[in-house]
Symmetry: C2
Subunit: 323 residues, 2 copies
DNA sequence: ATGAAAGCGCTAACAC
DNA sequence: GTGTTAGCGCTTTCAT
């Protein structure tokens, strides 16, 4: 009976007629298998969960969209859970350790949840992460990009355009994170200043980007940067907005670079120049190969980055910036 | 044993000491309950799923975020599934009928899935919908807004600003949907033209909004509209982008109104004037009261709408439009 | 106040 | 090729 419904009637040993008969009966009775019972017995749910810190961030919305398409193709259900803090990450991961899905794509990362990731693995849930820290349990493939190179790429683009006073806006208040390090490295390589006041923080949202940018603009004259590198596209969009409100024309008078290469950046005014990468596609494939073939998987994938040049930096530095 | 872990040790009849003992043992053994087994036995998973057509649409991303917060508070896990077509909606709803969650918040609607909604109900899964059609099974609360009034609200705002040639961009190719009807009603009430060529369609994405807007702009001179009402904020953002590329200044030379009142509209350049509503909050509350109290629930909730006036329409009609 | 047993709805393994 | 059985890991119920 269950052989038919599982779609393995052929490979097994059932006559077409019987299969037909079973299917009709199921349809007539409006039969729906109980996923819970099925998963409990067969130890497989054919479902995965993508865990993201926020869906407001178009980067993660895009990751989910891609996972969704890929899962549909492979016959997996994909669902999404959002974990916006360490506590909610713990909650979500504990939940997932309860074997409600076969695999987890982790878009959140923080050291204090690594114990739970180990637990997930221990319970047989496959795992892959997008950009995790160094202490990630070794069995988990980490699909990452070189954030430091990305920071340098963005900053060098700005430098190449003639900017010397380049700000940085981010959610992190510390100055040890890798995008910052790349930004710093690029600036120092040219002997440019790296002033404290060109570093501004805000929440990792459009509003937070606006806040951070506003604090950068609070500075006057030569102290004020002529360009800014934003932690991600989300914050860059906030920055663009504040610049517009301040009457500063981008890119004529100010340049902005984002990070993540989200497609929404093609629709901002001006369109956003941004550091692009394809972590998501790789991560999704890796996770599914773990599920389907229980394949030996590399521990670390470093996906290449590139710069998508759109409008927000212009080709050269404008009048305002020179002043 | 399970009494403790379910957190009902007190209400039952277990001594504090025993509870403590059990908890310690659980922690030591790294015990994680199997959700599948638990759900199977207790017929409740304390989880809900929000089904949305797309997460690129900030409106749905916001719905999910709110559901997430509310769920956290109530001790429910919330997950999200995306169903971008009728087939994938059927797939998702069938999946959900397998009792993997207690409740479903439906952000997708189409007549051909109503049989599956019935099935969900039949299997004891609570359901609430955001804006469903008239033939929705009667047991399902429908949290909706008056789309027609919304269309009229947007259009009248434009009319009030002096526009007479007002276009409409949407994903729907038919002219029977309610936002269109509202737009039409407003225009006809003033005796204004309602030309075929002012109606343009594109996919329900930023790119689709851009396509539709581009086809509107293909028209010359007096045939060209001076304002456009977009089906939603997503398409409006696409329209804004095309207008920018065409060198048409918004709001000086052209006006745009969106729909949904998403917060991203506050960050576009220019910031988007849009029809706002709060379906989501109400829907989430309704769904949870069904889950928690098995309360008798109204069949239909009509949530009020309003207009959020930002920049994209200006205060008056510009020079270009007059020409 | 506690331990033991039954069984949720399935599928895997085994007998025919 | 087809019917039967055991049991996945829990919670609920019943017996002590």
């Amino acid at each position: 009976m269950s052989l038919v419904l599982t779609g393995r009637g052929d490979t097994a040993r059932l006559s077409k007629a019987t299969q037909q008969r079973v299917k009709e009966a199921a349809a007539k009775l409006n039969y729906v298998p109980n996923r819970l019972a099925r998963g409990l017995r067969s130890r497989a749910t054919r479902a995965i969960t993508v865990v993201v810190p926020s869906l407001q961030n178009p980067f993660f919305a895009e990751v989910v969209g891609q996972a969704q398409e890929y899962g549909d193709e492979k016959g997996y259900s994909v669902n999404v859970m959002v974990a916006s803090s360490v506590e909610s990450s713990r909650r979500v991961l504990s939940y997932l350790a309860g074997r409600s899905v076969d695999g987890v794509l982790l878009g959140v990362d923080s050291e204090p949840v690594y114990d739970l990731i180990k637990q997930l693995l221990g319970r047989g849930v496959a795992c892959a992460t997008l950009q995790a820290g160094a202490n990630l349990p070794k069995e988990v493939p980490n699909i990452s990009i070189d954030l430091e190179a990305g920071g340098a790429l963005a900053t060098n683009h700005l430098i190449g355009l003639g900017h010397t006073r380049i700000g940085y806006i981010t959610e992190f208040t510390n100055r040890t994170h890798r995008k910052y390090l790349g930004y710093k490295r690029a600036l120092e390589a040219k002997g440019f200043d790296l002033r404290d006041r060109w570093f501004a923080t805000g929440k990792n949202t459009m509003a937070g980007g606006a806040d951070a940018m506003a604090s950068l603009l609070g500075q006057s004259g030569l102290d004020r940067p002529t360009a800014v590198f934003a932690y991600n596209d989300l914050m860059a969009i906030g920055a663009l907005r504040v610049l517009k409100e301040a009457g500063i024309k981008v890119p004529h008078d100010f340049a902005v670079v984002g990070f993540d290469g989200t497609s929404v950046g093609a629709f901002t005014n001006p369109a956003l120049t941004t550091v692009t990468h394809q972590r998501n596609a790789v991560a999704i494939e890796v996770l599914f190969s773990m599920l389907e073939h229980a394949k030996k998987i590399l521990r670390k994938y470093e996906v290449p980055i590139s710069l998508t040049i759109r409008e927000s930096c212009g080709a050269s530095i404008g009048a305002f910036a020179k002043g």
